[in-house]
């Protein structure tokens, strides 16, 4: 072997293509992930959910906490409310409350009018009876006779669209689902991040130090495992009251146990790897080994675990909300909505179906993406 011919063909062409640029394991995984159609589809669905959660509430036609007393529990429909056949009675009812006699009501596009009469003078302020309702606005009285006892009441009809219907309080379900998606995603991501930090820190220290320290730290984990999750969360809620921050802390605090175990196991395996021993033989210190060898190599499994942790956290948040331990009214989350839907399902199925579908699709996409990521990062499975 001579130095003039440095590229020696050894056992077959392991090095192919352009020799100067390498393809890291991350790039390999990325290519595999892009080939996985289920994972790509899931990623697109998730992107839609994220956009809906972040921007949806801003562009939604109704505020999530606005109450439309006229439209309590209206079914989902792509047609705007009020319906033609309800305008007349509503108009009549409103005017009856104003104690005027109503003639024939005519509906013309988005305005409605009817002759009104009264034994005494008509008070012009009665337009308030109409304006106050959700259905009408800009009510005016025209064509008053000189005695101010007869005239024509005209009002514009407020068209409201409730594609997913409204809840038992008359709030737009679509807007509430959008805000619910936002809350669920935020809690899922924040809780996962929290358990990531806790779990990676605890697990890496435990695994890297090993020995007695490791024994004690793992024993603590075992004990925490045998405390039921709900017990812990309820106590937190009891101590500190119910709020958004607390919930993701509570979930993060319970979900980090698995993460710690995974990271510890990884660290223990890596510590025995020859490349870590080689680094030690080079005189690389503990920090260098952790930074250049242990952490980059645990990142793959940790990433997969986090992807699967997000749906778990979302599920837990929903469960808490379902049990009435989650976010408080008028703020809402998918779990709260499902709980309300379950309570009203006999009379208003849409209240259950839409939030349930939203949650399920989101969790399904997250799980499939996690699976895809695992297959991409650990290709031996396929």
């Amino acid at each position: 072997m001579s130095q003039s011919d440095p590229t020696i063909a050894e056992e077959g062409p392991a090095v192919t293509a352009d020799a100067t640029t390498g393809r890291s394991l991350w790039q390999d995984a990325w290519i595999r992930l892009r080939r996985n159609r289920a994972a790509v589809a899931s990623a697109v669905v998730l992107l839609v959910f994220v956009v809906a959660g972040v921007f949806g509430p801003m562009v939604a036609p109704h505020p999530y906490d606005a109450i439309y007393t006229q439209y309590v529990r209206v079914p989902a429909s792509l047609e705007a409310y009020p319906r033609a056949d309800t305008i007349e009675p509503a108009f009549e009812r409103a005017l009856k409350r104003a104690r005027v006699d109503v003639g024939k009501v005519t509906v013309d596009g988005s305005s409605v009018s009817a002759p009104i009469s009264k034994d005494e003078k008509i008070d012009p302020r009665i337009v308030r009876y109409l304006d106050r309702s959700d259905i009408f606005h800009d009510a005016t009285i025209t064509d008053l006779n000189d005695a101010v006892t007869q005239g024509v009441m005209t009002a514009a009809v407020t068209r409201e669209l409730f594609p997913f219907g409204t809840d038992a309080n008359g709030r737009d379900l679509l807007s509430r689902i959008l805000i619910g998606v936002r809350v669920s995603l935020a809690i899922g991501v924040l809780a996962s991040f929290m358990s990531l930090v806790l779990g990676v820190g605890y697990g890496a220290v435990s695994g890297y130090l090993g020995g007695r320290v490791d024994d004690v730290m793992m024993r603590i984990i075992d004990i925490l495992y045998s405390l039921p999750f709900i017990f812990f969360v309820i106590l937190l809620v009891v101590f500190f009251g119910r709020n958004f921050v607390l919930i993701f802390i509570a979930i993060g605090c319970t979900e980090w146990l698995d993460m710690a175990r995974i990271v510890r196991g990884q660290t223990l395996t890596l510590k025995r790897q020859e490349f870590v021993q080689a680094a030690e033989a080079l005189g690389v210190g503990d920090m260098g080994v952790l930074k250049r060898h242990i952490i980059p190599n645990t990142l793959g499994p940790v990433m997969v675990f986090v992807t699967l942790l997000v749906p778990k956290a979302i599920l837990l948040e929903s469960l808490l909300s379902f049990l009435g331990l989650g976010v408080q009214e008028p703020m809402t989350s998918l779990g709260v909505l499902i709980s309300e839907g379950a309570a009203n399902m006999r009379s208003a199925t849409w209240l259950l179906l839409f939030p349930a579908a939203a949650l399920t699709i989101m969790l399904f996409a997250l799980n499939f993406l996690g699976d895809g990521l695992r297959d991409a990062l650990d290709p031996k499975d396929r």
Partner: protein, 307 residues
């Protein structure tokens, strides 16, 4: 093996003790108390009540008292259900939870492992993808969604089964809760079995069995499946404990009188004894089932020794 069981129980006791201690002080240090939640009581009555339940004594004394009672298998009276002792509540509720959880576990185990093995044998076919998608769906749909949906479809729309209630535990009332409990477990077990079977089918000893011309029912049934069942067995420990001690969601939605509800109700109502009782029951179930699973595992895998 007997001495192994004894030793395992010996090492579980400290854990149980720590769990009891932690839970006791955590719940007792929480603000509020069992008598605060109704209309304010007459101070004198309150004093009597507190005295009757030893609440006027220092916390450490109450703790020792509780441990003493516990040693005599006395879990104390329930504060929210005044006429019952905690033990009474478990005596009526636990069989219900065990019945539901047991059925669910059985169904999940049978259906899940068959589905998983089937998918593994047809790996990367449409059958496989179908099973994986179904299993993932089973895992992703939360029980608190499945439960009302099942109740809505089979109870309200089709009117085949009671939408809720217990009805003394007759068969028709059991079906929907059991199915609700079983569905996610079917999903998990199917995925677990599938993965383990695929790995087993790829192992060298299965290759040996094939190389020796053994019929495929022997290759799969004898050599692959026994290896594939091992991870499922390990999974069963905590799962069985969780299923048999009841589910708050299922019991709330279907109105089942099990013990799963006690935890949330007890904690919210500061029913100290009920919460403690539930913690202990759950912990004991976890310990016992982990032990059973370890023994089962050692029986299935000769490489594992009892020491």
């Amino acid at each position: 093996m007997f001495s192994y069981v004894i030793r395992r129980f010996g090492s579980a006791l400290p854990t149980l003790f720590i769990v009891i201690t932690l839970s006791f002080f955590m719940i007792r240090l929480a603000p509020g108390g069992p008598f605060d939640l109704q209309r304010p009581l007459d101070p004198l009555i309150m004093q009597h009540l507190k005295h009757a339940y030893h609440f006027d004594e220092p916390l450490w004394k109450q703790y020792l008292l509780y441990l003493n009672n516990l040693a005599h298998f006395d879990l104390g009276p329930s504060f929210t259900r005044r006429d019952f002792s905690v033990l009474d509540l478990f005596r009526t509720g636990l069989p219900v939870s065990i019945e539901l959880g047991g059925f669910a576990l059985l169904i999940a185990l049978v259906v899940g492992s068959i589905l998983g093995a089937f998918a593994a044998l047809k790996q990367n076919s449409w059958n496989d993808y179908g099973v994986v998608a179904l299993a993932t769906l089973g895992i992703t749909i939360p029980t608190f969604v499945i439960a009302p949906l099942l109740s809505l479809v089979f109870g309200v729309m089709l009117d085949w089964l009671p939408a809720g209630g217990w009805g003394g535990g007759d068969f028709s009332h059991v079906i929907l809760p059991v199915v609700t409990l079983a569905l996610p477990q079917i999903g998990i077990i199917a995925r677990l079995t599938r993965g383990a079977t695929i790995e087993a089918l790829r192992s060298n000893h299965v290759r040996t069995a094939r190389a020796y011309g053994l019929p495929s029912f022997v290759v799969v049934g004898v050599h692959a499946m026994r290896a594939a069942i091992l991870p499922v067995v390990s999974y069963l420990g905590p799962t069985a404990a969780a299923l048999l001690t009841g589910s708050v969601v299922v019991e709330t939605i279907f109105g089942v009188p099990g013990i799963g509800r006690y935890f949330v109700q007890g904690a919210l109502g500061r029913d100290y004894t009920l919460v403690m009782g539930t913690v202990i029951v759950v912990a004991v179930f976890v310990i016992v089932f982990n032990l059973i699973v370890d023994i089962l595992y050692a029986l299935l895998d000769p490489r594992v020794r009892f020491d």
